[in-house]
Protein backbone atom coordinates (compact mmCIF):
# COMPACT_ATOMS: atom_id res chain seq x y z
CA UNK A 1 0.00 0.00 0.00
CA UNK A 2 1.30 3.42 -0.89
CA UNK A 3 2.01 6.12 1.68
CA UNK A 4 -0.76 8.55 2.58
CA UNK A 5 1.37 11.60 1.86
CA UNK A 6 4.43 11.57 -0.35
CA UNK A 7 6.22 14.86 -0.87
CA UNK A 8 9.36 14.96 -2.94
CA UNK A 9 11.66 17.79 -3.95
CA UNK A 10 9.18 20.39 -2.70
CA UNK A 11 10.28 23.98 -3.36
CA UNK A 12 8.18 27.03 -2.52
CA UNK A 13 9.23 30.61 -3.18
CA UNK A 14 7.39 33.81 -2.38
CA UNK A 15 8.97 36.19 -4.87
CA UNK A 16 12.69 36.18 -4.20
CA UNK A 17 12.23 34.44 -0.84
CA UNK A 18 12.76 30.69 -0.98
CA UNK A 19 10.79 29.29 1.97
CA UNK A 20 11.08 25.58 1.16
CA UNK A 21 14.27 24.39 -0.52
CA UNK A 22 13.71 20.81 -1.53
CA UNK A 23 11.72 18.91 1.08
CA UNK A 24 10.97 15.18 1.04
CA UNK A 25 8.36 13.88 3.45
CA UNK A 26 6.57 10.56 3.60
CA UNK A 27 3.64 9.95 5.94
CA UNK A 28 2.36 6.38 6.19
CA UNK A 29 -1.27 5.48 6.72
CA UNK A 30 -2.22 5.81 10.36
CA UNK A 31 1.02 7.57 11.19
CA UNK A 32 1.16 10.72 13.33
CA UNK A 33 3.98 13.03 12.25
CA UNK A 34 4.78 16.24 14.12
CA UNK A 35 6.71 19.03 12.41
CA UNK A 36 8.73 21.24 14.73
CA UNK A 37 11.12 24.07 14.04
CA UNK A 38 11.72 27.80 14.58
CA UNK A 39 9.21 30.35 13.30
CA UNK A 40 9.90 31.27 9.71
CA UNK A 41 11.46 27.87 9.07
CA UNK A 42 8.76 27.01 6.49
CA UNK A 43 6.86 24.37 8.46
CA UNK A 44 3.44 26.02 8.00
CA UNK A 45 4.14 26.53 4.32
CA UNK A 46 5.05 22.85 4.06
CA UNK A 47 1.70 21.90 5.59
CA UNK A 48 -0.20 24.31 3.34
CA UNK A 49 1.46 22.80 0.29
CA UNK A 50 0.00 19.38 1.16
CA UNK A 51 -3.55 20.49 0.26
CA UNK A 52 -2.30 23.10 -2.18
CA UNK A 53 -3.48 26.13 -0.22
CA UNK A 54 -0.02 27.20 -1.34
CA UNK A 55 0.93 26.11 -4.84
CA UNK A 56 4.41 24.56 -4.82
CA UNK A 57 6.99 26.25 -7.04
CA UNK A 58 8.56 22.87 -7.80
CA UNK A 59 8.37 19.29 -6.65
CA UNK A 60 5.68 16.68 -6.23
CA UNK A 61 2.86 16.26 -3.72
CA UNK A 62 1.01 12.93 -3.77
CA UNK A 63 -1.84 12.36 -1.31
CA UNK A 64 -3.58 8.99 -1.17
CA UNK A 65 -2.19 8.09 -4.58
CA UNK A 66 -3.33 11.30 -6.29
CA UNK A 67 -0.62 13.60 -7.59
CA UNK A 68 -1.98 17.02 -6.58
CA UNK A 69 0.84 18.90 -8.28
CA UNK A 70 -0.19 17.44 -11.64
CA UNK A 71 -1.72 20.20 -13.81
CA UNK A 72 -4.89 18.15 -14.40
CA UNK A 73 -5.40 17.10 -10.77
CA UNK A 74 -8.83 17.75 -9.28
CA UNK A 75 -7.61 19.62 -6.23
CA UNK A 76 -11.11 20.37 -4.91
CA UNK A 77 -11.91 16.67 -4.91
CA UNK A 78 -8.66 15.82 -3.13
CA UNK A 79 -9.24 18.47 -0.46
CA UNK A 80 -12.47 16.75 0.56
CA UNK A 81 -10.35 13.92 1.93
CA UNK A 82 -7.72 16.16 3.52
CA UNK A 83 -9.00 17.81 6.70
CA UNK A 84 -7.27 20.99 7.80
CA UNK A 85 -7.26 22.79 11.14
CA UNK A 86 -5.90 26.34 11.27
CA UNK A 87 -4.14 28.31 13.94
CA UNK A 88 -6.90 30.95 13.78
CA UNK A 89 -9.79 28.40 13.82
CA UNK A 90 -11.45 30.08 10.79
CA UNK A 91 -14.97 29.02 11.70
CA UNK A 92 -17.54 30.56 9.37
CA UNK A 93 -18.57 33.51 11.49
CA UNK A 94 -22.02 33.93 9.93
CA UNK A 95 -23.09 30.34 10.63
CA UNK A 96 -23.87 28.63 13.92
CA UNK A 97 -21.82 25.66 15.04
CA UNK A 98 -24.06 23.02 13.48
CA UNK A 99 -24.19 24.84 10.14
CA UNK A 100 -20.40 25.16 10.22
CA UNK A 101 -20.28 21.37 10.32
CA UNK A 102 -23.02 20.70 7.77
CA UNK A 103 -22.46 23.32 5.07
CA UNK A 104 -19.61 21.56 3.27
CA UNK A 105 -21.16 18.12 3.77
CA UNK A 106 -24.23 19.33 1.93
CA UNK A 107 -22.68 21.61 -0.70
CA UNK A 108 -19.60 19.51 -1.44
CA UNK A 109 -20.46 15.91 -0.53
CA UNK A 110 -24.15 16.37 -1.43
CA UNK A 111 -25.32 14.64 1.72
CA UNK A 112 -28.96 15.24 2.54
CA UNK A 113 -29.86 17.48 5.47
CA UNK A 114 -30.72 14.69 7.90
CA UNK A 115 -27.54 12.73 7.28
CA UNK A 116 -25.32 15.83 7.45
CA UNK A 117 -27.03 16.80 10.67
CA UNK A 118 -26.51 13.37 12.21
CA UNK A 119 -22.83 13.23 11.25
CA UNK A 120 -22.28 16.77 12.52
CA UNK A 121 -23.81 15.98 15.91
CA UNK A 122 -21.75 12.79 16.19
CA UNK A 123 -18.58 14.75 15.61
CA UNK A 124 -19.58 17.48 18.06
CA UNK A 125 -20.02 14.75 20.69
CA UNK A 126 -16.64 13.41 19.68
CA UNK A 127 -14.94 16.71 20.56
CA UNK A 128 -17.04 17.12 23.71
CA UNK A 129 -19.25 19.95 22.46
CA UNK A 130 -22.56 18.21 21.86
CA UNK A 131 -24.39 20.99 23.67
CA UNK A 132 -23.02 23.80 21.50
CA UNK A 133 -24.75 23.00 18.20
CA UNK A 134 -26.82 26.19 18.27
CA UNK A 135 -24.08 28.57 19.41
CA UNK A 136 -22.45 31.14 17.17
CA UNK A 137 -18.65 30.88 16.86
CA UNK A 138 -18.09 34.24 18.54
CA UNK A 139 -19.88 32.98 21.66
CA UNK A 140 -17.34 30.20 22.15
CA UNK A 141 -13.92 30.27 23.78
CA UNK A 142 -10.87 29.78 21.57
CA UNK A 143 -10.48 26.20 22.71
CA UNK A 144 -14.12 25.43 21.94
CA UNK A 145 -13.83 27.09 18.53
CA UNK A 146 -10.80 24.99 17.70
CA UNK A 147 -12.58 21.80 18.72
CA UNK A 148 -15.53 22.80 16.52
CA UNK A 149 -13.04 23.36 13.69
CA UNK A 150 -11.69 19.84 14.23
CA UNK A 151 -15.24 18.45 14.24
CA UNK A 152 -15.97 20.37 11.04
CA UNK A 153 -13.00 18.77 9.31
CA UNK A 154 -13.90 15.32 10.67
CA UNK A 155 -17.46 15.63 9.35
CA UNK A 156 -16.05 15.31 5.85
CA UNK A 157 -14.68 11.83 6.73
CA UNK A 158 -11.10 12.78 5.81
CA UNK A 159 -8.37 10.24 5.16
CA UNK A 160 -5.76 12.51 6.69
CA UNK A 161 -5.77 15.55 8.96
CA UNK A 162 -3.44 18.55 8.76
CA UNK A 163 -3.00 20.70 11.88
CA UNK A 164 -1.33 24.09 11.48
CA UNK A 165 -0.23 25.16 14.98
CA UNK A 166 -3.70 24.37 16.34
CA UNK A 167 -2.98 25.55 19.88
CA UNK A 168 -0.74 28.56 19.24
CA UNK A 169 -3.59 31.08 19.44
CA UNK A 170 -5.07 29.63 22.62
CA UNK A 171 -4.81 30.73 26.22
CA UNK A 172 -2.62 28.20 28.05
CA UNK A 173 -5.49 26.76 30.11
CA UNK A 174 -7.44 25.94 26.93
CA UNK A 175 -4.63 24.08 25.16
CA UNK A 176 -5.21 20.80 27.00
CA UNK A 177 -8.76 20.26 25.69
CA UNK A 178 -7.65 20.63 22.08
CA UNK A 179 -4.60 18.41 22.50
CA UNK A 180 -6.82 15.85 24.22
CA UNK A 181 -9.11 15.69 21.20
CA UNK A 182 -6.10 15.34 18.90
CA UNK A 183 -4.63 12.61 21.06
CA UNK A 184 -7.88 10.60 20.89
CA UNK A 185 -7.94 11.10 17.14
CA UNK A 186 -4.41 9.72 16.90
CA UNK A 187 -5.39 6.76 19.06
CA UNK A 188 -8.27 6.02 16.67
CA UNK A 189 -5.73 5.62 13.90
CA UNK A 190 -6.17 8.89 12.00
CA UNK A 191 -3.24 9.85 9.77
CA UNK A 192 -2.06 13.21 11.06
CA UNK A 193 0.52 15.80 10.05
CA UNK A 194 0.84 18.33 12.86
CA UNK A 195 2.84 21.55 12.92
CA UNK A 196 3.25 22.34 16.61
CA UNK A 197 5.29 23.93 19.35
CA UNK A 198 3.88 21.51 21.94
CA UNK A 199 6.94 19.36 22.58
CA UNK A 200 5.20 17.30 25.23
CA UNK A 201 2.44 16.42 22.75
CA UNK A 202 4.97 15.57 20.03
CA UNK A 203 6.94 13.42 22.43
CA UNK A 204 3.90 11.45 23.60
CA UNK A 205 1.70 11.23 20.50
CA UNK A 206 3.92 11.44 17.43
CA UNK A 207 5.23 8.33 15.71
CA UNK A 208 7.82 10.49 14.06
CA UNK A 209 9.09 14.05 14.44
CA UNK A 210 10.50 16.23 11.67
CA UNK A 211 12.73 19.14 12.58
CA UNK A 212 12.54 21.78 9.86
CA UNK A 213 14.88 24.74 9.66
CA UNK A 214 15.54 27.26 6.87
CA UNK A 215 13.32 25.41 4.40
CA UNK A 216 14.83 21.95 4.83
CA UNK A 217 14.13 18.86 6.90
CA UNK A 218 17.21 18.85 9.11
CA UNK A 219 16.48 15.78 11.18
CA UNK A 220 13.73 13.23 11.55
CA UNK A 221 12.98 10.11 13.52
CA UNK A 222 11.05 8.85 16.53
CA UNK A 223 10.42 11.58 19.14
CA UNK A 224 12.72 9.96 21.73
CA UNK A 225 15.56 10.41 19.25
CA UNK A 226 14.80 13.80 17.68
CA UNK A 227 13.53 15.46 20.86
CA UNK A 228 15.24 13.19 23.38
CA UNK A 229 18.68 12.89 21.78
CA UNK A 230 19.02 15.20 18.77
CA UNK A 231 21.98 14.54 16.50
CA UNK A 232 22.11 17.86 14.65
CA UNK A 233 23.48 21.01 16.26
CA UNK A 234 20.59 23.15 14.96
CA UNK A 235 18.04 20.77 16.46
CA UNK A 236 19.83 20.87 19.81
CA UNK A 237 19.94 24.69 19.77
CA UNK A 238 16.23 24.93 18.91
CA UNK A 239 15.18 22.43 21.54
CA UNK A 240 17.32 24.14 24.16
CA UNK A 241 15.51 27.42 23.45
CA UNK A 242 12.04 25.82 23.44
CA UNK A 243 12.41 23.49 26.39
CA UNK A 244 14.29 25.96 28.55
CA UNK A 245 13.33 29.46 27.41
CA UNK A 246 14.92 31.32 30.32
CA UNK A 247 18.28 29.66 29.75
CA UNK A 248 18.69 28.38 33.29
Amino acid sequence: MSAMIEISGLVKSFGPLEVLRGVDVRVERGEVVCVIGPSGSGKSTLLRCVNLLERPSAGQVVVDGVELTHPDADVDAARRRIGMVFQGFNLFSHLDVLANLTVAQRKVLRRDAAEADRIARENLERVGLGDKAGAMPAQLSGGQQQRVAIARALSMDPEVMLFDEPTSALDPELVGDVLGVMRRLADEGMTMLVVTHEMQFAREVADRVLFVDAGRVVEQGPPREVIGAPQEERTRAFLARVLNPTGE
Binding site: N51, L53, D76, A77, R79, R80, I82, G83, M84, F86, G88, N90, L91, F92, S93, H94, V103, A104, K107, V108, L109, M136, P137, A138, Q139, A149, R152, A153, M156
Partner: protein, 275 residues
Protein backbone atom coordinates in the same frame (compact mmCIF):
# COMPACT_ATOMS: atom_id res chain seq x y z
CA UNK B 1 -14.62 99.26 21.73
CA UNK B 2 -16.62 96.30 22.92
CA UNK B 3 -13.50 94.20 22.93
CA UNK B 4 -11.86 96.68 25.29
CA UNK B 5 -14.85 96.57 27.61
CA UNK B 6 -14.87 92.76 27.58
CA UNK B 7 -11.30 92.68 28.84
CA UNK B 8 -11.46 93.69 32.51
CA UNK B 9 -8.48 93.69 34.82
CA UNK B 10 -9.23 90.26 36.30
CA UNK B 11 -9.37 87.61 33.58
CA UNK B 12 -12.64 85.61 33.71
CA UNK B 13 -12.27 81.95 34.59
CA UNK B 14 -12.36 79.38 31.85
CA UNK B 15 -15.71 78.08 33.07
CA UNK B 16 -17.27 81.53 33.14
CA UNK B 17 -16.06 82.20 29.62
CA UNK B 18 -17.59 78.93 28.37
CA UNK B 19 -20.89 79.91 29.99
CA UNK B 20 -20.78 83.30 28.29
CA UNK B 21 -20.16 81.72 24.88
CA UNK B 22 -23.09 79.39 25.38
CA UNK B 23 -25.31 82.31 26.39
CA UNK B 24 -24.39 84.12 23.17
CA UNK B 25 -25.26 81.02 21.13
CA UNK B 26 -28.69 80.72 22.72
CA UNK B 27 -29.16 84.47 22.29
CA UNK B 28 -28.54 84.31 18.55
CA UNK B 29 -30.97 81.42 18.24
CA UNK B 30 -33.66 83.28 20.17
CA UNK B 31 -33.13 86.43 18.11
CA UNK B 32 -33.55 84.54 14.85
CA UNK B 33 -36.69 82.84 16.15
CA UNK B 34 -38.20 86.14 17.28
CA UNK B 35 -37.32 87.81 13.98
CA UNK B 36 -38.90 84.96 12.05
CA UNK B 37 -42.04 85.12 14.15
CA UNK B 38 -42.39 88.90 13.82
CA UNK B 39 -41.23 89.49 10.28
CA UNK B 40 -42.76 86.57 8.39
CA UNK B 41 -46.28 86.82 7.06
CA UNK B 42 -47.61 83.70 8.74
CA UNK B 43 -51.03 83.92 7.18
CA UNK B 44 -49.51 83.82 3.74
CA UNK B 45 -47.09 81.07 4.59
CA UNK B 46 -49.86 78.97 6.07
CA UNK B 47 -51.91 79.42 2.92
CA UNK B 48 -48.91 78.45 0.79
CA UNK B 49 -47.78 75.39 2.71
CA UNK B 50 -50.29 74.38 5.36
CA UNK B 51 -53.69 74.59 3.73
CA UNK B 52 -55.64 71.88 5.51
CA UNK B 53 -58.41 71.70 2.90
CA UNK B 54 -55.85 71.18 0.16
CA UNK B 55 -54.02 68.65 2.33
CA UNK B 56 -57.19 66.68 2.96
CA UNK B 57 -57.90 66.56 -0.75
CA UNK B 58 -54.59 64.74 -1.35
CA UNK B 59 -55.74 61.70 0.58
CA UNK B 60 -55.94 58.84 0.06
CA UNK B 61 -54.28 59.10 -3.37
CA UNK B 62 -50.97 60.37 -2.05
CA UNK B 63 -50.62 57.23 0.05
CA UNK B 64 -52.45 54.51 -1.88
CA UNK B 65 -51.09 55.53 -5.26
CA UNK B 66 -48.12 57.91 -5.06
CA UNK B 67 -46.35 56.53 -2.00
CA UNK B 68 -46.91 52.98 -3.19
CA UNK B 69 -45.56 53.84 -6.64
CA UNK B 70 -42.44 55.45 -5.16
CA UNK B 71 -41.80 52.34 -3.09
CA UNK B 72 -42.40 50.01 -6.05
CA UNK B 73 -40.18 52.02 -8.43
CA UNK B 74 -37.42 52.19 -5.84
CA UNK B 75 -37.67 48.50 -4.99
CA UNK B 76 -37.44 47.53 -8.65
CA UNK B 77 -34.43 49.76 -9.22
CA UNK B 78 -32.73 48.60 -6.05
CA UNK B 79 -33.25 44.91 -6.81
CA UNK B 80 -31.86 45.23 -10.32
CA UNK B 81 -29.04 47.49 -9.14
CA UNK B 82 -28.08 45.09 -6.38
CA UNK B 83 -27.95 42.11 -8.73
CA UNK B 84 -25.93 44.06 -11.28
CA UNK B 85 -23.78 45.51 -8.49
CA UNK B 86 -22.82 42.02 -7.30
CA UNK B 87 -21.87 41.03 -10.86
CA UNK B 88 -19.83 44.22 -11.31
CA UNK B 89 -18.10 43.76 -7.95
CA UNK B 90 -17.10 40.22 -8.91
CA UNK B 91 -15.92 41.47 -12.31
CA UNK B 92 -13.78 44.14 -10.63
CA UNK B 93 -12.05 41.41 -8.63
CA UNK B 94 -11.77 39.02 -11.57
CA UNK B 95 -8.46 37.55 -12.62
CA UNK B 96 -9.50 38.20 -16.22
CA UNK B 97 -8.22 41.70 -16.96
CA UNK B 98 -10.87 42.72 -19.56
CA UNK B 99 -13.62 42.04 -16.98
CA UNK B 100 -11.88 44.37 -14.59
CA UNK B 101 -11.58 47.05 -17.27
CA UNK B 102 -15.23 46.79 -18.24
CA UNK B 103 -16.42 46.94 -14.63
CA UNK B 104 -14.13 49.87 -13.83
CA UNK B 105 -15.28 51.78 -16.90
CA UNK B 106 -18.90 51.07 -16.00
CA UNK B 107 -18.50 52.28 -12.43
CA UNK B 108 -16.65 55.43 -13.46
CA UNK B 109 -19.23 56.25 -16.12
CA UNK B 110 -22.40 55.73 -14.12
CA UNK B 111 -21.01 57.34 -10.98
CA UNK B 112 -19.97 60.31 -13.04
CA UNK B 113 -23.08 61.17 -15.04
CA UNK B 114 -26.27 62.58 -13.48
CA UNK B 115 -29.07 60.07 -12.98
CA UNK B 116 -31.25 62.52 -14.88
CA UNK B 117 -29.32 61.85 -18.10
CA UNK B 118 -29.62 58.10 -17.64
CA UNK B 119 -33.40 58.42 -17.32
CA UNK B 120 -33.56 60.51 -20.49
CA UNK B 121 -31.31 58.11 -22.37
CA UNK B 122 -33.37 55.10 -21.37
CA UNK B 123 -36.73 56.79 -21.69
CA UNK B 124 -36.18 58.34 -25.10
CA UNK B 125 -32.91 57.18 -26.62
CA UNK B 126 -33.02 53.42 -26.19
CA UNK B 127 -36.58 52.94 -27.55
CA UNK B 128 -35.56 54.80 -30.71
CA UNK B 129 -32.14 53.21 -31.09
CA UNK B 130 -33.19 49.62 -30.39
CA UNK B 131 -36.82 49.72 -31.44
CA UNK B 132 -37.77 48.61 -27.98
CA UNK B 133 -40.83 49.83 -26.16
CA UNK B 134 -40.14 49.66 -22.43
CA UNK B 135 -43.05 50.07 -20.10
CA UNK B 136 -42.67 52.50 -17.24
CA UNK B 137 -41.68 49.85 -14.73
CA UNK B 138 -38.89 48.47 -16.90
CA UNK B 139 -37.59 51.95 -17.60
CA UNK B 140 -37.47 52.98 -13.97
CA UNK B 141 -35.98 49.65 -12.96
CA UNK B 142 -33.23 49.89 -15.56
CA UNK B 143 -32.46 53.57 -15.04
CA UNK B 144 -32.35 53.49 -11.26
CA UNK B 145 -30.64 50.10 -11.32
CA UNK B 146 -27.91 51.12 -13.75
CA UNK B 147 -27.01 54.13 -11.63
CA UNK B 148 -27.38 52.37 -8.28
CA UNK B 149 -25.31 49.39 -9.45
CA UNK B 150 -22.25 51.60 -9.95
CA UNK B 151 -22.31 52.70 -6.31
CA UNK B 152 -23.34 49.34 -4.94
CA UNK B 153 -20.59 47.54 -6.87
CA UNK B 154 -17.94 49.57 -5.05
CA UNK B 155 -19.63 49.02 -1.70
CA UNK B 156 -19.93 45.26 -2.24
CA UNK B 157 -16.36 44.97 -3.43
CA UNK B 158 -15.17 46.67 -0.24
CA UNK B 159 -17.31 44.25 1.76
CA UNK B 160 -15.93 41.18 -0.01
CA UNK B 161 -12.38 42.37 0.56
CA UNK B 162 -13.14 42.92 4.25
CA UNK B 163 -13.91 39.22 4.76
CA UNK B 164 -10.80 37.64 6.34
CA UNK B 165 -8.71 35.45 4.01
CA UNK B 166 -8.91 32.60 6.53
CA UNK B 167 -12.60 32.19 5.77
CA UNK B 168 -11.85 31.39 2.14
CA UNK B 169 -8.99 29.08 3.11
CA UNK B 170 -11.27 27.16 5.46
CA UNK B 171 -13.91 26.83 2.74
CA UNK B 172 -11.38 25.72 0.13
CA UNK B 173 -9.80 23.22 2.54
CA UNK B 174 -13.25 21.61 2.89
CA UNK B 175 -13.28 21.02 -0.86
CA UNK B 176 -15.36 24.00 -1.95
CA UNK B 177 -14.52 25.47 -5.32
CA UNK B 178 -13.61 29.13 -5.59
CA UNK B 179 -17.13 30.01 -6.76
CA UNK B 180 -18.83 27.86 -4.12
CA UNK B 181 -16.72 29.48 -1.38
CA UNK B 182 -17.65 32.92 -2.71
CA UNK B 183 -21.39 32.17 -2.71
CA UNK B 184 -21.57 30.15 0.51
CA UNK B 185 -19.05 31.86 2.74
CA UNK B 186 -17.76 35.19 1.43
CA UNK B 187 -20.83 36.93 0.05
CA UNK B 188 -23.08 36.26 3.07
CA UNK B 189 -20.42 37.75 5.33
CA UNK B 190 -19.72 40.61 2.95
CA UNK B 191 -23.41 41.51 2.90
CA UNK B 192 -23.51 41.84 6.67
CA UNK B 193 -20.60 44.21 6.46
CA UNK B 194 -22.19 46.33 3.73
CA UNK B 195 -25.81 46.35 4.94
CA UNK B 196 -25.55 49.85 6.44
CA UNK B 197 -24.05 51.47 3.31
CA UNK B 198 -26.50 49.55 1.12
CA UNK B 199 -29.36 50.94 3.17
CA UNK B 200 -28.03 54.42 2.54
CA UNK B 201 -27.94 53.63 -1.16
CA UNK B 202 -31.60 52.61 -0.93
CA UNK B 203 -32.39 56.01 0.56
CA UNK B 204 -30.63 57.76 -2.31
CA UNK B 205 -32.52 55.66 -4.85
CA UNK B 206 -35.82 56.49 -3.13
CA UNK B 207 -35.18 60.14 -3.85
CA UNK B 208 -33.83 59.54 -7.35
CA UNK B 209 -36.98 57.62 -8.25
CA UNK B 210 -38.63 61.05 -8.59
CA UNK B 211 -36.71 61.51 -11.87
CA UNK B 212 -39.18 59.19 -13.54
CA UNK B 213 -41.41 62.26 -14.04
CA UNK B 214 -39.33 63.01 -17.14
CA UNK B 215 -40.84 60.11 -18.99
CA UNK B 216 -44.44 61.22 -18.98
CA UNK B 217 -46.60 59.27 -16.57
CA UNK B 218 -50.29 58.57 -16.57
CA UNK B 219 -52.11 59.59 -13.40
CA UNK B 220 -52.06 56.17 -11.82
CA UNK B 221 -48.31 55.97 -12.31
CA UNK B 222 -47.50 59.20 -10.44
CA UNK B 223 -44.99 58.81 -7.70
CA UNK B 224 -44.73 61.24 -4.80
CA UNK B 225 -42.89 64.15 -6.41
CA UNK B 226 -44.95 64.10 -9.59
CA UNK B 227 -48.14 63.68 -7.56
CA UNK B 228 -47.31 66.78 -5.58
CA UNK B 229 -46.39 68.79 -8.66
CA UNK B 230 -49.53 67.91 -10.52
CA UNK B 231 -51.65 68.98 -7.54
CA UNK B 232 -49.96 72.38 -7.80
CA UNK B 233 -51.79 73.08 -11.02
CA UNK B 234 -55.09 72.51 -9.23
CA UNK B 235 -54.53 74.53 -6.07
CA UNK B 236 -52.83 77.81 -5.30
CA UNK B 237 -50.87 76.13 -2.51
CA UNK B 238 -47.63 74.29 -2.04
CA UNK B 239 -49.24 72.07 0.57
CA UNK B 240 -49.14 68.98 -1.70
CA UNK B 241 -45.41 69.46 -2.12
CA UNK B 242 -44.92 69.62 1.62
CA UNK B 243 -47.03 66.49 2.02
CA UNK B 244 -45.05 64.68 -0.64
CA UNK B 245 -41.87 65.66 1.19
CA UNK B 246 -43.24 64.24 4.43
CA UNK B 247 -44.13 61.03 2.63
CA UNK B 248 -40.50 60.67 1.52
CA UNK B 249 -39.50 61.01 5.16
CA UNK B 250 -41.96 58.24 6.06
CA UNK B 251 -39.81 56.01 3.86
CA UNK B 252 -36.34 57.36 4.48
CA UNK B 253 -36.27 58.00 8.23
CA UNK B 254 -37.10 54.37 9.15
CA UNK B 255 -34.47 53.28 6.63
CA UNK B 256 -31.80 55.46 8.18
CA UNK B 257 -32.79 54.23 11.67
CA UNK B 258 -32.48 50.71 10.31
CA UNK B 259 -29.08 51.54 8.84
CA UNK B 260 -27.89 52.82 12.23
CA UNK B 261 -29.10 49.67 13.96
CA UNK B 262 -27.44 47.40 11.41
CA UNK B 263 -24.27 49.44 11.78
CA UNK B 264 -24.29 48.85 15.54
CA UNK B 265 -25.10 45.18 15.15
CA UNK B 266 -22.79 44.16 12.32
CA UNK B 267 -20.41 47.13 12.17
CA UNK B 268 -16.74 47.02 13.05
CA UNK B 269 -14.83 43.79 12.79
CA UNK B 270 -16.39 41.24 10.42
CA UNK B 271 -16.16 38.51 13.04
CA UNK B 272 -18.17 40.35 15.70
CA UNK B 273 -20.76 38.25 17.54
CA UNK B 274 -23.91 37.70 15.56
CA UNK B 275 -26.29 36.05 18.00
Amino acid sequence: MTAAQAAPAAKPSRRRRARAVRAVQYGVLAAVAVAAALLADWGRIAAAFFDLDVAAAQFPGIITSALVNTVVYTALGFAFGLALGVVLALMRMSSVAPYRWIATAYVEFFRGVPALLVFIALGYGVPIAFQLAFDIYSTVMLSLGLVGAAYMAETIRAGVQAVPAGQVEAARSLGMSRGRAMVTVVLPQAFRIVLPPLTNELILLTKDSSLIYLLGLSTGQYELAKFGRSALTEYQSLTPILLAGLCYLIITIPLSRLSDRLERRYGGRPSTPTP
